[in-house]
Each structure stands twice: as C-alpha cells, then as structure tokens.
C-alpha cells in the first residue's frame, strides 16, 4: 500500500535528482487535508509577490482609496527590465490601474507591477496580508529592487557566472550575500503561507469581495510552462502565479476540478544548477507537485 510517507519520499527524490531545494504544499480546500515537503522554509518570492500586491490594490479600490479607471502614463525611460510587456514598449503608454493588474498578474509584467507598487507601497501590501491573517509572507520592496542584483549589471553572456554566484552565496539559515535573495531582507514567504493565502482568497469571507477578480486574474496566467502541463486539463482549471528569478522557480495556484474539488498548490524552489533554462527542473517540479496532489485527492475521497 502506498503511504503518505512513501509519496513524499518519492517526490523528494524527484526534486533532489533535478538539483532542487524545494518546498511543496498541497491542500484540499474542501477537507483541509494537506501534504507537504519543507512547508515552512522561507524563499525570496520573486514575481509570486504580485498576487499579494493585486490583493492589496483590489482592496484599495474597494475602499475607494484608488480609482480603477485612473490612468497612468508609463514612459519608455522608466521601465523595469523583463522579458515581456511594457519593458518592450518603445513609446509612452497610457494605462488604467485595473488594467495594470491584468498585466502584472497574467503576464507577470514587472513595469506594471512597479507602477502598482508606486500606488500601493510594499508596507501596505504587507499590512493587507497581516489583516487577512497571513504572517508567513512579508513584502519589503518593489520589483525593480530585484534587478539591482549582480545579475542585472552583468552582460547576458556572463549569466552562468551570476547564477553560480547566486547559488553559492547562500549563507546559513536562509541568509544570502545578495540582499534581494536574503529572506530576512527580501520579499519572502513560505509555501505554507502561500497556500494559506490561496485558501483565504478562495474561502475566507474577509476576502470575498476580491475573490472573483483575483480568481479570474490567476486563471488568465499566460506562464504555463511549469506546473500547468502536469496539472491542467479541460476538467481541471489551473489558476496560478509563477515566480522566476536567477536560480528561483516558484508557482502557486489552485486547481479546480470539474467535480467541484479545489486543491491549493504551492511550489517554491531554488536550484543548485547554474543554468538559466532547466527543462529538467521544470519537469521535476511539475511531477513532484502532481505526486502530492494525486495523493491528497485520492486519499481524502
């Protein structure tokens, strides 16, 4: 017979052989049953932080502190570096606050996220988390702070060195020589706290006013290379937010099955391999999450 322990050991082996240190929490949002690996390890959150940001912005809108239709002009000279979105725009762009949410959450647009951070600073994002009862996630800085790390000052051909340095500069107890990667001074959180946040968004009456809009944003996430291939189908809708930076690979989300069951999944990881694109790591994260998910789903039935 397959036991929880055996499943967890199997998943841990999958992660280990891909060179990953990872935390995974899978929770059945109906029964509350949960399986986890290293649930309380803290990681720098990278773009996962855009979910609490979106929550705080929506709350500000609902409290009439922010106007969703308020427009902002994004100038080409104040872009936050990134892969997609406004950082690629070559001309000034005018956009409304509510649309910035779509860009920040669904495309993980860093320029859009920083424009929102200007309206809703990190301290008030943390405050809204605390109000919702989440203590395991702390937001301390905007996205552009991340790009002040050595990775951004090095030319692209030296990226492997930046990765190797990021991996080796980890100090004991979650510390890091790069402040943006040090969980005591970065945007940091645990897999447990991420699942707790998803749980509150899906079920807590306190966050009910923002629920449908957040759920809609997460459903439209275009980053589907990490956990989505192993989880989603026509009968299983995947709502998620990813986070990727240097050696960090995260994804948190909720899988809604056609039978009405909803499973919250949080995967936070850091790699020990100095390579930017690691298909093996992405696959391992997907497989390990699926192993835990399948176990939680079947055992609670």
């Amino acid at each position: 017979m397959q036991t929880d322990r055996a499943v967890i050991r199997d998943a841990a082996e999958v992660l280990r052989s891909a060179g990953l240190r990872a935390s995974i929490v899978v929770r059945d949002l109906g029964s509350g049953r949960q399986l986890s690996i290293a649930a309380d390890d803290a990681y720098p959150l990278a773009s996962v932080v855009k979910l609490p940001l979106a929550l705080a912005v929506l709350q500000a809108i609902d409290d009439n502190r922010l106007d969703p239709a308020q427009t902002m002009t994004l100038r080409p000279d104040v872009r936050t570096p990134g892969l997609v979105g406004y950082c690629r725009f070559q001309h000034p762009t005018t956009v409304a606050v509510e649309d910035l949410l779509y860009m920040a959450v669904c495309l993980s647009d860093d320029t859009a996220a920083d424009a929102l951070f200007d309206l809703c600073p990190p301290a008030s994002v943390t405050a809204s988390l605390r109000q919702a009862g989440i203590t395991g996630i702390t937001v301390r800085h905007s996205i552009r702070e991340l790009h002040r790390t050595l990775a951004s000052v090095l030319p692209p051909e030296q990226m492997p060195q930046a990765l190797a340095l990021a991996i080796r500069a980890s100090t004991r107890g979650g510390g890091h020589l790069i402040p943006q990667l040090d969980v005591s001074s970065a945007n940091a959180g645990t897999a447990n706290a991420c699942v707790e946040l998803l749980d509150r968004i899906w079920r807590s009456p306190v966050l009910a006013p923002q629920r449908e809009r957040l759920r809609g944003l997460l459903a439209m996430n275009v980053m589907r290379q990490r956990l989505a291939p192993d989880l989603e189908s026509d009968d299983a809708a995947w709502h998620s937010k990813t986070g990727t930076f240097l050696h960090l690979r995260h994804e948190i989300g909720v899988l809604e099955h056609a039978d009405g069951r909803a499973m919250a999944v949080a995967v936070l990881s850091e790699s020990s391999v100095p390579a930017q694109r690691q298909p093996a790591a992405e696959q391992a994260l997907g497989l390990a999450a699926k192993l835990l998910h399948d176990r939680v789903r079947s055992a609670a039935a």
């Binding site: 052989s17 492997p160 291939p229 391999v273 390579a275 694109r277 298909p279 093996a280 696959q283």
Partner: protein, 312 residues
C-alpha cells in the same frame, strides 16, 4: 698521506688498535698490515697535534689525549659505516610509479623487465587519480602518471560514450539525446569512471549537461570502472570511456559531438633526471600501458620542466 689525510681510514686504525691495546691485533681488526696501521695512526697524531698512544715495551696504552678523542673517533667510524650502508640501500630502492587502476598489466611487466636489465627496479602502484596525487605529494611515489588537461598531455586517448545496447543512432553522441521527454520518468545517465572524475573533464561535462537542459543526476561519478561499465551493460545507461575500454567491455562506442574530451596523462617526477631515465627504459611501452596514443607537438624540454615542478 699527511697532506691528504684519509680521516675515516685513520680513525678506523686508531679505534681498532685502541680497542685491542695492540698494534698487531688492531691492524688485523682494521684489515690492514701493521705498518699501514702505524703510519695512519702517526698521520692522525700529526693531524690532531698530539700523541694518541704511549708505546711501552709490552703493551700499547692510550694517552690522556687519546682517551679524550676516542669517543668522537668511534662516532666517525660508525657514521661512515651508516653512510655506505644507506648508499647501498638507496641504490636498491625501487622507482615507484603511480598508474591508473585500469592499465595494461602486460605492458607493465615488460617495462619492469626492461628496468631490471638496467639496474632500475620499477614498482607499479595503481590508484585513483586523487590517491596517486596524494601519494606523489607525500613522497611515497617517485613518479606519477597524472591526469592532465589536453594541452599538457604527453599521452592521450579520446573519450566517447559506451553503451550496452545495439540499437540507437550511430555517429557522434550529443547530450540532448539524454533529455527525458515530457511525461517519461526514467532517465538515462552518463557514468563517469573514477579515472575521468577530474576537474578538466568533469567541469566541462557539467557545463554541457547544464547547457543541454539535463538534470544534475544524469551525470554520475561511479565508485569504480566496473560499476560504471555494469550500468552500461545492464541497462540503458552510458559510460564515458575510451574506444579501447569499450572494446574490452564489449560496448558500442561513439565519439562526443558537443565537445572533444581526451583522457590525457603527463609524467610527474620528483627529479627531472629520474623521469628521463625512466622514459628511456619504458619507451613506447608506456603507450600500451595507458592504452592511449602519444601526443605530438610537445617538446621534451617543456615536459620535463613540468614534470619536475608538478607537486601541485
């Protein structure tokens, strides 16, 4: 004689006569005639500037001065004896050579035979690269065949991958072949024998592994060559090896496509003189010993200079 005093011979005569209290018996003890013994002792007395013996009619007696210098003379005789013993032992000492565990024993025997014909007693000490390095550094090996990067190698054999199966593509091997397709959990590994688990091979392989998007575990160091070969023979795994090794173990061998890797060796020596004497004795048999080919284009001078300073 007095001008070029043989201190050792003179002291031997002095000590021998003093011990036996007789010139006749003392000379016999020192293995010389009585007149030679007398002459040597006289020369020593002249050298030291005082008489050593009172020569009475019946017996020979040490003077006060003679008694004073006798212990030092004994020490000198003993030290001279030790010196010649040590020299003799050193002549008989074997030349210890660190060799890879996987070497051709027949070639080793031939080299040893050629050495004994030229008063060089060669002893082969097989070991892992780091063991040989440590033994050489500590002085337990006088010569070491050390794994080196291709640009320093005197002997080299190209490395490729050996596989047990008869199926699969021929031609050059590319690392992306090992990339597991989505949804398939089993992974094919490339095993690294201990002899190739050295920075100039392993680090370059890791770079290519990372670049090809493979998982870290897909490149695995094996505890022994046998373990590595068994993984290839018993499963779908591959092993990094030379063409000669693949032939011995009955594996299919393919050259590397992503990068050129060689298993290269240089001869490290504590003394430059010893290295060249050994190379003279071993000659072309070293190629067979290492199952590789000589690298051309490296001058002998450059090699021996490296060999002499290679304790790093």
């Amino acid at each position: 004689m007095a001008r070029h005093l043989d201190l050792r011979a003179a002291c031997e005569a002095f000590v021998s006569v003093a011990e036996r209290e007789s010139f006749t018996a003392g000379a016999v003890g020192a293995g010389v005639t009585q007149s030679v013994a007398s002459r040597r002792i006289a020369a020593l007395e002249k050298h030291l500037g005082a008489r050593l013996f009172e020569r009475t009619s019946r017996r020979v007696e040490l003077t006060e001065f003679g008694r004073g210098v006798l212990p030092s003379a004994i020490k000198l005789v003993d030290a001279a004896l030790e010196l010649s013993e040590d020299a003799e032992r050193s002549h008989r000492l074997p030349v210890t050579l660190g060799v890879p565990l996987a070497h051709d024993p027949a070639a080793a025997a031939e080299i040893a035979a050629a050495g004994s014909g030229r008063s060089m007693n060669v002893e082969f000490v097989p070991g892992l690269p780091h063991e040989r390095e440590a033994a050489f550094g500590a002085g337990r090996l006088s010569l070491n065949l050390e794994p080196v990067a291709p640009d320093r190698a005197r002997w080299a054999a190209p490395l490729g991958v050996g596989s047990g199966g008869r199926r699969g593509p021929d031609g050059d091997f590319y690392f992306t072949e090992l990339r597991p397709p989505r949804g398939i959990r089993s992974v094919v590994r490339l095993w690294l024998a201990p002899e190739d688990d050295v920075p100039h091979v392993r680090d370059r392989l890791e770079l290519v592994r990372n670049g090809a998007g493979l998982a870290p575990t897909q490149l695995r160091p094996a505890a022994s060559l046998t373990t590595a070969m068994a993984a290839a023979l018993g499963g779908d795994d591959l092993v990094l090896c030379t063409g000669a090794e693949a032939a011995v173990f009955g594996l299919r061998w393919r050259a590397l496509g992503d990068l050129r890797l060689v298993r290269g060796y240089a001869l490290a020596s504590r003394e430059r003189d010893l290295a060249s004497r050994f190379l003279e004795v071993a000659g072309p048999r070293l190629v067979e010993l290492l199952q590789s080919a000589p690298v051309t284009g490296i001058s002998t001078e450059a090699r021996s200079a490296q060999g002499g300073t290679d304790a790093d």
